[in-house]
Subunit: 97 residues, 7 copies
């Protein structure tokens, strides 16, 4: 992704929820939950604290992060949809593999 986020912003590509229920029924779009998981595609350099010291970013490109259902700001860029969150709005990280 070409976008260079400013401050402690994290740009996330949503990971859609499973499209089947546990009993195997394929869910229509309107019944799907809003995603709360996503892959970090770009992260800013971090914010500076009151003393002028850079607060390091807790996540990096490629991390799978979890956030609240209505957190962040939607962003459409070149036809693709992303979610932009502040690092402090991320609930946590899901280690992969």
């Amino acid at each position: 992704m070409k976008l260079v986020p400013l401050e402690d912003r994290v740009v996330v590509k949503l990971i859609e929820q499973e499209e089947k229920t546990q009993s195997g029924i394929v869910l229509p779009d309107t019944a799907k939950e809003k995603p709360t998981k996503g892959k970090v595609v770009a992260a800013g350099a971090g914010k500076y604290d009151d003393k002028g010291k850079l607060i390091p970013m807790p996540v990096t490109e490629g991390d799978v992060v979890v956030f609240a259902k209505y957190a962040g700001t939607e962003l459409k860029l070149d036809g693709e949809e992303y979610l932009v969150l502040r690092a402090s709005d991320l609930i946590g990280i899901l280690p992969q593999g």
Copy 2:
């Protein structure tokens, strides 16, 4: 649980209230109170104060905590439901055993 919470976040698995009234009547789901007790399944490392010093977490994995009825953010992860709270939103700890 795989999720690694950020900052002072606490992920809690709700402990449902008793399903019977004192006179032994089994309550339907709609009559049950919203839980205010839960078991900590994951806790962040804590937040940093204005001086850059880490504020230690008051709870750890396995603790049973009490919170207000409408506190926290609901989180659904891999079919399981959790509540995410900031450490400062916890009312207190219920020592077990």
Copy 3:
């Protein structure tokens, strides 16, 4: 009470208002005033100020405290109802005896 409150939280057991008017009429439940008095059943250790110094708690277990009609958060624990307040939300203390 088993609950150990965090920070400067105070758990209070409400003291119901008199159930009779001055002329001796017994009031029905709906005509009773919301209580503004309660007995402290558990108190946290206090909060830390910006310098990292503990602010001592102004009340202790057993104190009778006064608070505004709609202050605090209701908490139901093991069938009992409590009110949870921050120390700074307490109006004052009523010395007993």
Copy 4:
């Protein structure tokens, strides 16, 4: 009064406005103005500033104080009605005699 207010709280007994108009007509209760004057019946010890220094109270028991029409919190204690205000909510003092 038995209540010991906490922090910079001031408990005030309202001073009702004159019940007659200038032309001598006695006003019914509903036409009376909400009082903005009161006598201090109890005052806290004051609040601490950011440096941990006690900010002295500007008023003391017996002072007649003036406040905005809708300032403060009503408090009913043992059948008596009071108004509880923070010292910083008081408009001023009316020196007596």
Copy 5:
């Protein structure tokens, strides 16, 4: 005026707008603009800043001050109406003579 204002409060007696239009028509009460000018009748000693230093008051008794149409709190005292403003709510001073 007897009232001694606290902190940086300024008590102002409103200066009514001209009751005639430029063409000499006397306006009824409902067509008059809300006053934005007033004479200071009492002023507090000022507020203390974060370092405990007194911020001197920018106005003194007798000054004619200008304020926004809906600024301040109305105060009725002994039948007279006043406006109470914080020093920081005053737009400016109109030097007289």
Copy 6:
């Protein structure tokens, strides 16, 4: 102008938008845009920062300034209408000539 603004306030005389469209049609009053340009007619001495140091004013009398459509407080003084803005509410300066 006689008014001496306090703190970092700027008193502005609005500069009306062109009364004709590009094709030469004279617009009625209701179709005109709310002005976002104005000439500074009076400016305060500035505000003091947390260290007690005066923050110098970015504009001076005679400057043409730009502000958001709904910024500031309207002020009517001696029949003339002005807009009062804080220096920090000004978008920028339009250098003249």
Copy 7:
């Protein structure tokens, strides 16, 4: 552009979204997305932090920036429309070429 922005303000000329869908249908104005991309046409010198140190601007004239759909304040100047944003409201920069 003649406007000299104050503090950390950035004046942006919007970059309209493509007027065709992927299948080549030309969209009417009402179906177009609100732009979230723009070219910086003027930028302030930056804001001062609490210590009086200038925080440098993250963008400069000519940069293509991305912002949230409803961020910023619209500004019409000499018939041209712009968007005014604080530097901290910018999501990120899109490096060109």
